[in-house]
């Protein structure tokens, strides 16, 4: 049996396409006049990520990463909350997850073949796969560090144990 290696995301997607998707998502979801600006600023020490998995001819994740304070500010903007209303962890997981979901769904639609989208997850970003299987857009929102990373899935640990032994 011949195993053909899937094309890396760098051959399927360019940062310009991710930016154009972000350009549509930000005003619609984050608010009028809001934008993801592709000008990098230094990252903060603590980061949080929200992501959705894409499963198909290309398998991996669309990951949104920022500082917890930025995630909170994004949530306030998405939910249109005004002081003294405060957002809680559940609100942040929900809003950041939906941002990742909408980004992921639109990125899935430009990939070849039929794929499936997973449900949003939040936490520490999933491990990356091959070094060339990454399309990262580093930028900022309201001057705060934010990245959108489309990355291939890391190989399953101990994958060799799943192989059927040849008798």
């Amino acid at each position: 049996m011949t195993v053909t290696e899937a094309q890396p995301i760098s051959a399927l997607l360019d940062p310009g396409t991710v930016q154009s998707i972000a350009d549509e998502v930000w005003p619609s979801l984050v608010g009028d006049g809001e934008a993801f600006v592709p000008v990098p600023v230094p990252p903060s020490a603590e980061l949080v990520s929200a992501w959705v998995d894409i499963i198909g001819p290309w398998t991996g994740s669309v990951v949104l990463t920022c500082a917890p304070a930025t995630a909170e500010a994004l949530t306030e903007s998405v939910l249109m909350t005004r002081p003294p209303t405060v957002v809680d962890d559940e609100d942040v997981a929900d809003a950041l997850g939906e941002l990742a979901n909408v980004l992921g769904g639109n990125i899935k639609s430009v990939l070849p073949g039929e794929s499936r989208l997973g449900l949003p997850q939040i936490g520490s970003a999933p491990s990356r796969g091959r070094l060339d299987d990454v399309c990262a857009l580093v930028g900022q929102w309201r001057g705060n560090y934010l990245t959108i990373t489309v990355q291939g899935a890391a190989p399953a640990p101990h994958a060799e144990r799943n192989e059927v032994p040849q008798l």
Partner: protein, 131 residues
């Protein structure tokens, strides 16, 4: 006018709900297809049947497509207009949803104007809003 907004994201339920409320809709919410069927059944018992359901596709427990099929199979809800509001934008997905019984399809991200245009197409925009 009455609407049921079905999405596992509270943020998205709030966004869609706020727009619809602005158009004069009375809005109820559900976090997945199963919950939405419960809202329909409970609402029906008290005489509350929505004119419109806005339905996300990817949700836990029961997804949007399963909800569309379940609703279409129930004669009590034959008059309810079903609109998918989802990130699933491939033609094959749109065809699948329409074949299952959805009437309209709105792709996320969307603007309030895009939702308004869809409602106008469906004849579900209150006169005072469309004027």
């Amino acid at each position: 006018m009455r609407a049921l907004v079905i999405d596992d994201s509270r943020a998205m339920r709030r966004i869609v709900g706020t727009i619809l409320t602005g158009f004069g809709y009375e809005v109820r919410e559900a976090g997945d297809g199963r919950q939405a069927l419960d809202v329909l059944q409970e609402g029906s018992a008290e005489g509350w049947v929505p004119d419109l359901c806005c339905i996300d596709w990817n949700m836990p427990v029961m997804d949007g497509l399963q909800f569309v099929m379940a609703t279409r199979a129930n004669p009590a809800f034959r008059q309810v207009t079903l609109m998918m509001v989802t990130t699933e934008s491939e033609t094959s997905q749109i065809v699948k949803a329409l074949a299952a019984g959805a009437h309209e399809y709105l792709i996320k991200p969307f603007t309030a104007d895009a939702l308004r245009d869809k409602l106008a197409l469906l004849g579900l925009l209150p006169e005072e809003v469309s004027a």
